[in-house]
Each structure stands twice: as structure tokens, then as C-alpha cells.
């Protein structure tokens, strides 16, 4: 399972040794698609406004609403003004200069795979390119543009959420560095959708600049990849389906942070402390982050994926022959499925090239240990050498599973562990050679009576959730084996079919939570079996799945990895207060179940499985509960009921 991956170069190294100013002012001459000359932002706008598609929708809207075409066109023009980027080289140079300074303060290194850059450069010249970075931090897109500028590549135009526009000055700066802004929701607004999609397509078709957006739609607060959003992916593939371009290259980019800038912010946000509205002053308050050490960043530019070759044999482009291409239409089921599958594939490609730091493994181990101790009523932590030994064991397991692990080879494991711990000293405490999560509020100085048990629980949860977000970085490595481990655990026998049914139930349940490609249950099951057999944790025969002696430890680790999620899903129909009560009473072990992200995913799963359903016409947010279904799900997850027999799949 060891994958061949490229080597990294640290781009900050040169910045530390030569003038940032000269770097910011250097000659920048990127190669472009078909040797195009980049066009002015204004030209682009008029191309969009004069496009057949937009003209058609404008006249349609005008007919529907009875408003004059000119008025509607004004609207469209205003939308475009609000949306469009105004990329300027001077702003880019400004960012190149300031970001150099900032990055050097914040990070030890920014490592980029240069072979990936070369592949990208090639791809840009051949076909329109779409960049799809993972999204964990606000930093992501500035970082992307910074890297592309550094390597003299065409600067991308980036789809950004309107929330940035709240920050007046910064919003405009970002606009001038290539961001264009889209509203978070514009559901039925035909005109908006049309302006938006035509804008993106015009840039893409003409190869004016690589288009960059985040498949996950928003920053993942949990460091776990989010299930992909399909809107933009649909838009960028459309020109290929309609034959307007020969091909589109899609490049997944994996950005891994050793320490995420927004670490604690995310945890609070998920616990219900509302998300601070992005504001310029808020960003400046973030200045205190400048004094801290955020370790290194790894940016891996994946293999460019040809949409044409993906669509080969799956999409019948002739379907577009009978309607003029500028008339917008709902994508067919065939297209929707294709885009959805592709999106999952691409997110998995992002995951696969995410660099994992040793701390990710440590966080997983510490969390498991924390919960076990908590149940046992003692919170004494784990001995440092024990932790090191476990980390080394986990390192080897995860490598076998194909993890892209950045474990320094030149220093001893104990040095690796201690340096990781020291970088994350906000989350762990070491005393008397024992390591534990920094969950106790020590030295707050506040009178004890002022803190209610609820508040105390929440502040503990902040640490746990922060820690979990590091563990989550490794989830994609373990998820399939972990589902299998839990399935074996839950299944009533060792019969392969039984285990598969159980696997398939869990997989289905968790398909909002993890990146599990739709329709790939059998492949996932086989992959999990393969990995566990390969590491000699399992023996799989025609009929049976048997855990080996040696495999007990692996399986125990894997099951506990999934446990917080299992528990979270059991209690989802219940309200938050209820969870808190249970946690306090010690009936629930995992503080993580408080995470709004987990609850949101679980709710989505329940909706999908028909356990609850939205009531039409009722107040938004009102759900009808299918009591029978919920109970059965709850029991099944709790291990009280056998898994329902899944539709028999060929194993």
C-alpha cells in the first residue's frame, strides 16, 4: 500500500536567505493556456454580460417578472460587480511581500512538492485547469496564490464566500488578488445562478486563469474532509460536456497544517459559541497568533485528473445535442451521478496526499487513553515511554495502511514525541513523566463557584475537540478498517456475510460523516479486509472473518477510533441539553458528541435513512420523527439489535 509520492521543497528557505522585496517585485511571466494573454477584468465582465446564456436568462426573467429587460440586465450587472474579481499584479506583489514576512514568523517551513508544480505547469498549457485545495484554514487560498506566484505559475481566480466581504478593506484586497465572491445561498435565484455560472465558465473556457474553489464548500472545522458540494464542480465540468473545451484538468491539492491557526476557534464554534462574524478588526485581533509557532505546512499538488477520461463511457455527451447549449437546464441523473462520484474521488485524492505529522497519531492515542481513563474514574495520563512505544506501533500500522506520514527519521522516536508535544503544549500537559490532555482548568484564578458544571464541561470539550481535530486528520487512513473492526465487533457471528451486512449498515450510517464513495461498499469492504489481512490482524476465508491473536490490539484501537461517532449517532434525536445531562451523569463517555458538526452529520444521515423527515410548509427546522425507525437505529448502533440484512452483495 506504500504509495510513491513526490519529495518536498521548503519554499520559505529561500525567503529567509534573500530579499522579500526583490522577490515581490521580480519579473513574473507565467505560461498560460494556449499562450493566451490574460484579459482585463472589464473585458471579462462584458463577455459575461453579452453571453448567450445570460441574455437568454435575462429575457426569461424579464418575461416572468414583467420587468423591463434593461432593469434585469442592470441587476445582472450589479451581481457581477459584487462578484467579480479584479486581479491586479500590484496587489499580488503586495501580498507576496507581506505574506513572506507573516509566513516566516508563523511557520517553520512551507513544503511544496515541486514535481506537482511541474505537472501543473504542463497541465495549464494544455487544458483549462481547476484547482481544488482542501480547506482547513482561512490561510488556504492566500497560501495557494502565494505558492503559484513563487513558482511563476498563472494566478488562479478563487471562489470565496461572501462572508469575507464583511471585511471591507480585506475583502477588496482579496478581490484584487484574484478572489471572486459568491453568496452562500441563492437557492432559486435564477439570475444570480446564471451570472455566477457564466462568469466561472467564461474564465474557464477561455483559459484566462485557473479556477480555484473548495470542493468541501467551507472550511472543515474538524479537519475531517467534508462531503463535497457539487454546484461549482458541475459548472466547471459543463463546458466539457457541451464540447466547449476539449478537456478540463482538475488538480486536487492537499494542504496540511501541523498546527491550524483557527484551532481553538473551531472547537468553540462547534460547541455553540457562535462563529464570530468575519470582520477586519477581528482579523487584527488575530495578531496574537503571530507570536506563536505553528510548525510547518505541507502542500501537495496531486496528479491532474482529466475530466474527459473520467467521463469516458460514463457520460453521453450527445444528450446535449438537441437543446441549444446556452439554455440552462437541470443536469441529468447521469451527469449528477458522475459529478457526485468524481467529487468523492477528488476529495479522497486530497485526503490521500495529506501529510500527517506524528502529533496526529499522538492525538489519537491520547484521546483514546483519555476516554478509557475517564471511564475508569482516573485521569492520571499515560507514561511518556508508553506513549512513545504506542506511537511507534501506530506509526508502523498507519504506514502499512498507506498513510502519508511525515515522521522524521533522523531523530529518535522519543525526541519526535517530545517535540510534537511541545508544539501542542496548549492541548497536553506533561507532569511526572506522564502525559494527559490539558482538560482541567488550572490557574484560571476565578472563584470556583462561578463555573457551573456545564461551563466546565464545555471548556473541557474545547480541548477534546481540538485534539480530536488532529486525530481526524488520520481518519481517512483508518476509516475503512475501523468500520470493519466495528462491524466485526457488532456482528453476531464471524460469518462473512454477517460481518458485511454489519459493515454495510455502519458505512451507510456514516456516509455523511466520512468520505465514503457512493456505491463503493463492496470495494471498501474488500479494501478493509485487504489491509487487515495484510497486517495479519485478520484471517478472511470464503465464509468467515477471524480476528487473529495479534490483531486484537489493532482492532481494539480501530473500534475505539469509531466509538465517539457511534455514540454520537445513537443520541442524535435527543437534544443537546440531554447530551450534557448524560455526559455529566457519566452515561456518555465522549465529550466529542457535543460537536455540532457530528450532530449535523448525524441528522443528515437520519434524514437520508428516513428516520426523520422534513415537514413541508412547517417552520424550517421542524422535523418529524419516525419513532420506530429511530428506536431501531438507536438499538442497532448500541449493539442491542442485530444489523438488518443488507441487500446481499457479491463479496
Amino acid at each position: 500500500m506504500l504509495k510513491k509520492r513526490d519529495d518536498f521543497e521548503d519554499i520559505l528557505e529561500e525567503r529567509r536567505n534573500s530579499s522579500d522585496l526583490r522577490y515581490a517585485l521580480r519579473c513574473y511571466t507565467p505560461v498560460l493556456y494556449k499562450g493566451m494573454t490574460p484579459c482585463k477584468a472589464d473585458t471579462l465582465k462584458s463577455m459575461v454580460l453579452q453571453s448567450n446564456q445570460l441574455r437568454y436568462v435575462i429575457s426569461q426573467v424579464s418575461k416572468e417578472t414583467g420587468r423591463a429587460t434593461d432593469d434585469v440586465r442592470e441587476d445582472a450587472s450589479a451581481i457581477l460587480e459584487e462578484m467579480a474579481h479584479s486581479l491586479q499584479l500590484s496587489t499580488v506583489r503586495f501580498f507576496a511581500f507581506t505574506l513572506s514576512k507573516v509566513f516566516k514568523t508563523l511557520f517553520r517551513s512551507i513544503c511544496v512538492n515541486e514535481e506537482g508544480i511541474q505537472r501543473l505547469q504542463q497541465a495549464i498549457q494544455e487544458h483549462p485547469v481547476v484547482l481544488l485545495p482542501s480547506h482547513r484554514s482561512y490561510m488556504d487560498f492566500l497560501l495557494m496564490s502565494y505558492i503559484l506566484y513563487t513558482y511563476d505559475l498563472a494566478l488562479p481566480v478563487i471562489a470565496a464566500g461572501m462572508d469575507f466581504m464583511g471585511m471591507k478593506f480585506v475583502g477588496e484586497m482579496l478581490r484584487m488578488s484574484g478572489a471572486f465572491f459568491i453568496r452562500r445561498s441563492f437557492g432559486g435565484d435564477k439570475l444570480y445562478w446564471s451570472v455566477f455560472s457564466e462568469y466561472v465558465k467564461t474564465m474557464l473556457k477561455n483559459g484566462l486563469a485557473p479556477v480555484e474553489f473548495f470542493l468541501e464548500g467551507t472550511r472543515s472545522r474538524t479537519a475531517k474532509s467534508l462531503t463535497p458540494k457539487l454546484g461549482l464542480l458541475n459548472i466547471v465540468m459543463d463546458p466539457f460536456f457541451k464540447g466547449e473545451v476539449y478537456d478540463v484538468s482538475v488538480v486536487p491539492v492537499s494542504i496540511s497544517y501541523e498546527r491550524i491557526l483557527e484551532e481553538a476557534l473551531y472547537a468553540r464554534e462547534m460547541l455553540g459559541v457562535p462563529k464570530p462574524k468575519e470582520s477586519t478588526s477581528g482579523l487584527f485581533k488575530a495578531r496574537k497568533v503571530l507570536s506563536e509557532d505553528y510548525g510547518s505546512i505541507h502542500v501537495y499538488f496531486g496528479q491532474p485528473v482529466s475530466v474527459r477520461s473520467l467521463a469516458q463511457g460514463r457520460v453521453n455527451r450527445c444528450k446535449f445535442n438537441l437543446v441549444p447549449r446556452h439554455i440552462p437546464g437541470k443536469p441529468s441523473e447521469e451527469i449528477q451521478n458522475f459529478v457526485n462520484d468524481t467529487a468523492y474521488r477528488l476529495v479522497r485524492a486530497q485526503e490521500e496526499n495529506m501529510v500527517l505529522k506524528p502529533w496526529v497519531l499522538l492525538a489519537s492515542l491520547l484521546l483514546q487513553h483519555h476516554h478509557q481513563n475517564q471511564t475508569a474514574g482516573q485521569e492520571r495520563g499515560i507514561a511518556l515511554d508508553e506513549l512513545t512505544a504506542q506511537a511507534v506501533w501506530l506509526r508502523d500500522v498507519s504506514r502499512e495502511y498507506g498513510a502519508f506520514l511525515n515522521w522524521p527519521g533522523v531523530i529518535t522516536p522519543s525526541e519526535v514525541v517530545s517535540s510534537s508535544l511541545s508544539l501542542h503544549r496548549g492541548l497536553v500537559r506533561i507532569c511526572e513523566g506522564r502525559v494527559q490532555l490539558a482538560v482541567e482548568q488550572t490557574g484560571t484564578g476565578e472563584p470556583h463557584s462561578a463555573v457551573t458544571p456545564e461551563e466546565e464541561l464545555l471548556s473541557r470539550a474545547v480541548v477534546v475537540l481540538s485534539c480530536a481535530s488532529y486525530r481526524n486528520q488520520a481518519l481517512h487512513v483508518f476509516i475503512r478498517p475501523a468500520l470493519l473492526a466495528s462491524a466485526i465487533h457488532a456482528a453476531s457471528s464471524n460469518q462473512k456475510q454477517e460481518v458485511f451486512n454489519s459493515f454495510s449498515f455502519l458505512r451507510n450510517m456514516f456516509s455523511n460523516e466520512f468520505i465514503l464513495c457512493p456505491g463503493a461498499t463492496v470495494q471498501d469492504f474488500e479494501e478493509a479486509c485487504y489491509l487487515l489481512v495484510k497486517t495479519r490482524a485478520l484471517q478472511v476465508t470464503q465464509q468467515e472473518v477471524l480476528v487473529t491473536e495479534r490483531g486484537q490490539r489493532t482492532l481494539a484501537f480501530l473500534t475505539s477510533m469509531l466509538d465517539p461517532f457511534l455514540q454520537g449517532y445513537q443520541f442524535i434525536p435527543a437534544v443537546r441539553k440531554f447530551i450534557v445531562k448524560h455526559l455529566l451523569a457519566g452515561r456518555l463517555r465522549y465529550t466529542e458528541v457535543l460537536s455540532s458538526d457530528l450532530q449535523k452529520n448525524a441528522l443528515a444521515a437520519l434524514l437520508r435513512l428516513g428516520a426523520v423527515r422534513k415537514i413541508k410548509g412547517a417552520e424550517p427546522g421542524t422535523l418529524k420523527v419516525n419513532a420506530v425507525m429511530v428506536n431501531s437505529l438507536e438499538d442497532t448502533l448500541g449493539g442491542k439489535l442485530p444489523m438488518q440484512k443488507a441487500v446481499s452483495a457479491r463479496l
Binding site: K242, G243, Y246, D247, R317, C318
Partner: protein, 615 residues
């Protein structure tokens, strides 16, 4: 041979032998010259395109020349061709792949004969032949794989005999006998098919009789009141035009293959002519068709110019590709010969502008008799021809003039020689109107950045059309194989289809291990109200490939998939044959297939016309 130096290059392709035949009047015939003798291989290549005496070759000095005396290019030396050839294909004159020089009769499979049929046929005194040469000649069209196999001296299933009916009644007799004795009939006209339509189905076990219509080549009458002519179906295009011209008329139907293709073939494949903008395509030209089928003769009872009598039965016949019967006689519209013809050409800064101009011309419905737009690669190819040398001083002078003109164009501001493309034009009509029309078109062209580039460039473009097929044979002598194929596509898709299909060809070649970059170019050859006809040319150097024909076919297949995915049609005028059958169902829907099948089942239940085309 003064006649061969006539400026009008098209009609001088008449052989001395044909002239000799002129005097041999066949009984009952009006005594026209016959271009196509029964023994075709006596004047035409058995394993290549066109007349045996006309071919490209590299002479001892390594210069390309075109032999023979039939064409305007004949006897000329083209110094630029060698460089162009070597640069474009990476080919070398050292690496030759000569064809098997002579047909060895012994390697042709012996005929499977239906004795009873042969016996009865003898009694009708309709000439027939069992000679290997005759049979092999009618076993193929001009697809790459067909010619490639012949050059290698390989023969698959060939017809077992060839019959030459002299008139409609002969055909009726032959079809009756074929039905009676269960013999498979394959009509053969000009043999210029590029759809594998003439390939004998290998699984056919019955005796296959090739029904060669070439001797049915008379104009039976001309009706000057109604401007129609009644013509036998075997007449080839050049004879039809020449004979009508003698009476001051023309049909104006000029497909690129018109030297060899026949009227019956045009009807059977829904042919299209270069000047369709004035005269229409075959379906517009035909007034009445007589076809012999196993169920009897099908024809309309009158010659009304338009009828509302249910679905037009002509449309069962046109495009039936020899699967229903033999077209024997056709009444066609004719026109007085145009008083004045003028060629022209326009150079555009790029292909996009060129297409936009053609679209505008079509929109204003002011297309000249012919308007064609070549892409940059073809433009460069044309430039190479403009540097032709001839021994005589006058043409040397004109060569210099042309050369000067070329450098003028390429140095014109904003014109990048790697983007330039050229449209060739042909205007026809009375002089004043032509000049007026010409101005209108050039004015439109100017709006799209087009510059008039002279009559000669235009004329040369049309001349090249007739020799380009000869050029493929030259390529095949030096490891280069290629072909052209066509489609029709709505206007909004023209640019996309051109770009994507060309790119697909390049990508597929790379994918299939072709060592040299392929020649992948296109041109827009016809304009319509709602779209255009696009031709793709594709050739590559196959050195290093073990099965070049297979690679070629895979690439062409992929290119056709790409055409269909980009909204192009399966064919504009080449037809379906057997080469494109697999896409028919998707093209015409299940019900459409059912309709066509049920017609076939009624008309020819025993599959006498068993060439296996179309369905």
C-alpha cells in the same frame, strides 16, 4: 494534344481511348464518349486513386512531380512538396513502402458460381466477366484499409462475377434472374465509396454478382421547356456535365469525386455537390427516379415539381446505398450554363473569424456557388503549391508574382502566419450579378478581418480538390497513411467540433503509439441556413507500428465518436455503408431503424441486394 491545355481543367480528363470509343456507336445509344470502359483497370489504377497515368512521384532529384497530361498540375514539378511532406510527417524519401506492382490473378479466390444463373444470363446476352481483374476492381471502394490491403496484394471476399447491363430492361432481367436463382447483387457505379459500402460481406455464401452500371451512361432526352434531362444512372459526373454543356446546359452537381462517381451512386448515397448553394444537393436536383427492386420497378407516375402524396418515396431510394435495388434512370433538373465564372479567395486572421464570416454569409443567404474555409494547416499546404515551378517562362513569372503576394499577406499587420486561414470562393451567373455578388461577399468578409487574396489562390484551391486523392497514394509509398471524413453540424458547434475532433485525433494517435505527430486538419466545405459541412483530414507516418491500419481505424473511430459527442452528424454525404453502421441506431432511434428495416423486408425479403450496408 492541344485540348489538354485548356484552362478548364475539369473537363480535359478525357482519355485518348475514350475519344476512340466516341466513334464506336452502340446500337440504340446516342453515341457519347465513354469515359469508363468495361475493363476499368485498363485506364485506372487497380490499387489506388484515379487514372493510371496520373500520379505523384518524387523524381531522381527528389522533387515531387505529377505525371500524365490530364490535369492542370500534370507535368509540373513541385519543389516545396518534399519539404512539406518531410516536415509535416517526419517522413523521409529513404523509407519507402512501395505497393505490390501487379495484380496476381492466382492470389484472387476463385469465383463461387451459381451455374443456373450464369446459364440463364448467357441467354440474355448481357455481357459479364469472371476475370480476376474485373472482380477485384469491384470489390472495394477507397477507404484506407481497402487500398492498403490492395497495395499489399491481399484480397478478401471479392464478387464472383461482374455484369454490365446496357439499359433499364437489362437490369430488370438481371434482378429477376437473381431472385429466381437466389444470387446476391451488389450495384456498382463509380466505385468511389469511402464507407466500405462495396466490400463484400465475408459471410455471404451465395454467388455475389457485381452489377456495374457504367455502360448505362446515356442522356436519354433533354426537356428544354421544363429544364430537365432524363439520364441513365451509370453516367459519371464529368460525362454528364460535358454532354450537357454541349447542349448549353449543366446540372451544376459537382461532388469532389465527379470524375468517377456516377449518377446512380449519388442518388443511392444522398450526394452533395460543391455548388449546391446554387443548384442544390442531389435530393433537390432529382425530379424522377426509376429503380428496379426484387418486388418490381418503383417510380412516380408524373414529374410534378412537388407532391403531397404521403412520405416521398424518393426518400426511401435516396440513401438506400444499394440495399433495395438498382437505380436505372433519373430525371434531373438542368440549368443553362452560367455565362460567367469567377474564383476568389479571402484570407482571415484566424479560423474563428473565418467561420464567423461564413456564418454571416449563410445568414444573409448570399453564399456564392461555393465557399470553403481551410484551416491554418491547409492554408500552409496551399502555400506550398503556390511555389510550383514550370518550365515555361510565363508561369515562372506568375510564380514570382504569387510569391510576392504571399509575402505580402504574411507580413500584413496583425496576421500571424500560424493562425491565418483562407476561404476559397466560386461565383457563377451573369457577369454583372457575379460582380455585384462578389462585392457583397467581400464586404462581409472585410467585417471579419478578411482580405481578398486573389482569384488564383481560389482557383488553385478547387484544383487541389481533384488531385488531393492522388496525394494519398504518394504518402502510402512512404509510410504515410490517411483519409478524410466529413460531418454536418449546427453553426454554434462548428468551432468546437473542429477543435475537439482535431485534438482527439492527436491525442488518440499519441495514445496508440504513433511515433510522429499526425496531420490533423479541417475545412468547412458547405454552408447551410442552420449549419455547415465540415471535413477532417487526418494522416500520419506509421513507421514503427506493427498494424498501422488497425491504429488508423481506431483513431478514425474515436474521431467519429468525438464528432457525434459534439453534435455532428454521422455523415453529411459520404453515407453509412458498413463503416458507420454501428452508430445508425443511435442516430435514427429504434423506431427509425424499425421503419428502415420494414421497408427493406418488404422490398427485398430474400436480401438479394445483400451488400449489408446501412442497417
Amino acid at each position: 494534344m492541344e485540348v489538354l491545355k485548356l484552362k478548364d481543367y475539369k473537363w480535359n480528363a478525357v482519355t485518348a481511348e475514350c475519344k476512340a470509343q466516341e466513334s464506336q456507336k452502340t446500337a440504340g445509344c446516342s453515341g457519347e464518349a465513354k469515359t469508363v470502359p468495361r475493363k476499368r483497370h485498363e485506364i485506372m489504377k487497380w490499387n489506388g486513386w484515379g487514372y493510371s497515368d496520373s500520379r505523384f512521384l518524387f523524381n531522381k532529384k527528389g522533387q515531387a512531380e505529377f505525371t500524365g497530361k490530364r490535369y492542370r498540375l500534370s507535368g509540373m514539378i513541385m519543389p516545396g512538396l518534399k519539404d512539406w511532406f518531410e516536415v509535416t510527417f517526419g517522413a523521409s524519401l529513404q523509407h519507402k513502402t512501395p505497393a505490390t506492382p501487379v495484380l496476381t490473378s492466382s492470389s484472387v479466390p476463385p469465383p463461387t458460381l451459381n451455374e443456373a444463373f450464369v446459364e440463364e444470363l448467357k441467354s440474355t446476352s448481357i455481357p459479364f466477366s469472371l476475370d480476376a481483374e474485373d472482380r477485384v476492381f469491384r470489390a472495394h471502394g477507397h477507404c484506407l484499409h481497402e487500398i492498403f490491403a490492395l497495395r499489399e496484394g491481399k484480397f478478401g471476399r471479392v464478387p464472383d462475377m461482374v455484369v454490365w447491363p446496357n439499359c433499364h430492361n437489362d437490369v430488370v432481367n438481371i434482378v429477376e434472374l437473381a431472385c429466381k436463382h437466389n444470387v446476391c447483387l451488389m450495384p456498382y457505379g463509380g466505385g468511389t465509396s469511402v464507407s466500405s459500402a462495396l466490400e463484400c460481406p465475408p459471410e455471404e455464401t451465395r454467388c455475389i454478382v457485381s452489377l456495374d452500371t457504367s455502360q448505362m451512361n446515356r442522356i436519354l432526352w433533354i426537356d428544354e421547356k421544363n429544364l430537365t434531362a432524363h439520364v441513365e444512372s451509370g453516367i459519371v459526373g464529368q460525362d454528364l456535365e460535358r454532354l450537357l454543356n454541349e447542349s448549353g446546359y449543366c446540372t451544376g452537381h459537382e461532388p469532389d469525386s465527379m470524375e468517377f462517381s456516377s449518377l446512380g451512386g449519388w442518388v443511392a448515397t444522398r450526394a452533395s455537390g460543391m455548388k449546391k448553394n446554387i443548384y442544390g444537393n442531389i435530393e433537390d436536383l432529382v425530379v424522377h427516379i426509376k429503380m428496379v427492386t426484387p418486388q418490381g420497378v418503383i417510380e412516380k407516375s408524373c414529374q410534378g415539381p412537388r407532391m403531397s402524396t404521403g412520405p416521398d418515396i424518393h426518400h426511401f431510394i435516396m440513401g438506400s446505398e444499394g440495399t433495395l435495388g438498382v437505380v436505372t434512370e433519373v430525371t434531373m433538373k438542368i440549368r443553362p450554363m452560367p455565362e460567367y465564372q469567377k474564383y476568389g479567395s479571402v484570407v482571415f486572421p484566424n479560423f474563428e473569424q473565418g467561420v464567423a464570416c461564413l456564418r454571416e454569409v449563410a445568414k444573409q443567404r448570399c453564399a456564392p456557388a461555393s465557399i470553403r474555409l481551410m484551416d491554418n494547416e491547409q492554408f500552409k499546404f496551399g502555400l506550398m503549391y503556390s511555389q510550383m515551378k514550370n518550365e515555361n517562362v510565363a508561369s515562372l513569372l506568375s510564380f514570382l508574382m504569387k510569391n510576392k503576394c504571399t509575402s505580402l499577406i504574411t507580413s500584413f499587420k496583425g496576421f500571424d502566419p500560424n493562425n491565418l486561414c483562407v476561404a476559397t470562393l466560386l461565383f457563377e451567373g451573369d457577369r454583372e450579378k457575379v460582380l455585384q455578388h462578389e462585392k457583397q461577399v467581400y464586404d462581409i468578409a472585410a467585417k471579419f478581418g478578411g482580405l481578398a487574396a486573389g482569384e488564383d489562390n481560389g482557383q488553385r484551391g478547387y484544383m487541389l480538390t481533384f488531385v488531393i486523392a492522388y496525394l494519398r497514394d504518394l504518402g502510402m509509398d512512404y509510410y504515410v497513411i490517411g483519409e478524410s471524413f466529413e460531418t454536418s453540424v449546427p453553426w454554434d458547434r462548428v468551432l468546437d467540433i473542429c477543435r475537439n475532433v482535431k485534438a482527439r485525433i492527436v491525442a488518440e494517435c499519441k495514445d496508440k503509439g504513433v511515433q510522429f505527430s499526425p496531420f490533423s486538419t479541417c475545412r468547412v466545405t458547405q454552408t447551410y441556413d442552420a449549419g455547415a459541412c465540415v471535413y477532417f483530414y487526418f494522416a500520419f507516418n506509421y513507421r514503427g507500428l506493427s498494424d498501422p491500419v488497425n491504429v488508423y481505424e481506431q483513431v478514425e473511430h474515436a474521431a467519429r465518436d468525438e464528432i457525434l459527442a459534439n453534435g455532428g452528424s454521422l455523415s453529411h454525404h459520404h453515407g453509412v455503408g458498413k463503416l458507420r453502421k454501428e452508430w445508425m441506431r443511435d442516430t435514427v432511434s429504434n423506431v427509425g431503424m424499425g421503419m428502415l428495416k420494414s421497408v427493406k423486408d418488404y422490398v427485398d425479403p430474400k436480401n438479394i441486394f445483400g451488400n449489408g450496408n446501412l442497417l
